[in-house]
Amino acid sequence: MNASPSESEAEEAPDLVCQLDNVQGMVDAFTTVRWKRHQDAVVELSEHGVVLIVEETGCLQAKVYLQRELFVRYEFKGHGRPRFGVSLGLFVDCLNTFSVPGKSSVIEIQYPGPDMQLLVKSVDSLESCIYAEIRTRIPDTVSWDYNFEPAGSTPISFTVKSAALKEAIDDLEWPGSSIQISLQPNPPTVTFRGEGHGDLQIDFTYYVNTDLLVAFQCDRQVSYRYKYKFLRATTSNIPSAVIKDNRGSKLTIGRGGLLKVQHLVSVARPTTSHPRIDSAGYQQPSRIAYIEFFVKPEEDEATIHD
């Protein structure tokens, strides 16, 4: 009540006003990177879209890319790339209240509001309206630089069905502690190995499991160790609806063993027809949110400074 209409009119246009017709897709994408209950995220806005960044100091970082093509309306008037901090848990819980099961609801997101808040409101009904104002904060200035560079001339990568990856990593909980990921070109194999309370080794052999290990690229043997809890964070929160989409996750090992895990989350408008029967235009690439995790390897004598 304290802002009179004339005051708010005098203010500059907000950096971003955008509308989205699939809230659930956005909720799914953000949920995938929510590995802790209380977690701070940084949101970066640009003319290309919205990027949400979450990190565990120095070890693990996740990014969700929502390209402007995912939005039904996207008006960016900011200068440069405005950033703000927000509680991820609150943001996800809040967006979730906008998602009505079995109905596609259109929401409008605006930043900043009169008090630097993030404003969200439903816009698809005249007689009822849901709205939210989320307090934002100034983000930490320095964030760990995850400069991902390929190790060598050919990238070392493999693509595995997300469900299989999640299952493998879940199974490795038993040995726990650190997990060794090894790739060898001949025969093309990916090995996850945990040595802790016990030993467990999971092999994905390219020629044997072509339906699970969808793609494989590796010209020399590599092997790095990663902390189990960080590896687990990359898959444990993928919503089951996303797993059911049966997409692949791509894992790439970069210079120094930095591991990049990429997932795809559909932000397509929910169709009434069954998605797998829907033959015309399976799912447009523009309706996909890209999610990337970066996991630093454990440092031991073999991998320090390369």
Binding site: L90, C94, T97, S128, C129, R135
Partner: protein, 319 residues
């Protein structure tokens, strides 16, 4: 003190499929209060801090051959565990349907009884369900509290009379299922819910913490009782501003209740009411949720069944 009656088929289906599941969500234990004409299921009437719920039935809605007598004006009241009542009723029903369909053979009789049990030397009070099948009879005893004393009954009767006042303005809840869904998701964000209800037919609910404000506004709802036309100059304002202005103008009331209580009251949709209304009692004493039931197949109010909830107010809100 005597009570004996036969549950009608309609009575069984009302209780088993609709009211007991709803009442079970309100709390495990309730008062069952019987008088010459009516039967009441009452929650939290004698202790002030939970959601009060009052479900009442005329005796014809549930029973035939209804006989009651007591020293206190033929009133009987006791507490009972709803889930036990539900179990007894459910298995009695399965026996009834199992054994043919003669006109009187399989009637379900319900009565008060005192019986000796294995673990006690005293005779304990029970509500007994007796089903006579084709060749056998099944008796189920649901343990109940000792019947309330004359003073306690009087106290319950007084609390019941006080709980019957209706708010001056009631607005129809748009879609109970949808609202419940929304509130279920909303409860992750905070514990306290601000509600304002206006004579224009606006229902505004909001959770506000230091980090987030999350709310919903429903406009142009059906109003029962005192109503007014929404001022046209408010049309383009935000939901929050609109609600605040209506309160200042005296056209709306605002109260704060617990999100948990609010969610609980919405569970009453399990009783399959035909419509539901929210209103705020005079001076913001409580938030009232009134359910209406129609005579099946019509849009006429079934006066033999009624149900309403009263949610305790945590703060007077901004009014």
């Amino acid at each position: 003190m005597k009570f004996k009656a036969f549950l009608t088929e309609n009575g069984v289906s009302l209780l088993e499929k609709r009211f007991l599941p709803a009442l079970d969500k309100m709390g495990k234990i309730c008062h069952l209060f019987l008088n010459r004409d009516r039967v009441f299921f009452l929650h939290n009437l004698l202790n002030g801090d939970g959601v009060q719920s009052i479900a009442q039935f005329s005796k014809e809605a549930l029973f035939d051959d209804y006989r009651i007598s007591s020293q206190y004006d033929d009133c009987i009241a006791f507490t009972v565990d709803i889930s036990l009542l539900q179990r007894a009723l459910r298995s009695s029903v399965s026996i009834c349907t199992e054994f043919g369909n003669g006109p009187t053979a399989n009637r379900l009789q319900i009565k008060l009884a005192k019986k000796l049990t294995k673990n006690s030397t005293q005779r304990l009070p029970f509500l007994t369900f007796e089903t006579k099948g084709y060749k056998s009879a099944v008796i189920q005893d649901v343990p109940i509290s000792s019947p309330l004393s004359r003073n306690q009954v009087l106290e319950l009767q007084t609390a019941l009379d006080m709980a019957q006042d209706l708010p001056q303005t009631l607005v129809q809840v748009p879609d109970l299922n949808q609202l419940q869904n929304f509130v279920d998701r909303m409860r992750h964000v905070g514990d306290l819910l601000n509600i304002s209800i206006s004579k224009y037919g606006d229902l505004h609910i909001q959770i506000s913490t230091t980090l987030i404000t999350l709310g919903a506004e429903f406009q142009k709802l059906l109003v029962i009782g005192e109503q007014a036309d929404a001022p046209s100059e408010d049309r383009n304002l935000s939901a929050q501003t609109r609600a605040a202005r209506a309160v200042l103008r005296g056209d709306a009331q605002s109260v704060q209740v617990s999100v948990k209580h609010f969610g609980k009251s919405l569970q009453c949709h399990l009783a399959k009411p035909d419509c539901a209304f929210y209103g705020i009692a005079l001076q913001g004493a409580c938030l009232t949720l009134v359910f209406q039931f129609f005579i099946p197949g019509t849009h006429r109010l079934d006066k033999s069944i009624s149900m309403h909830c009263r949610l305790p107010v945590l703060d007077q809100g901004s009014s």
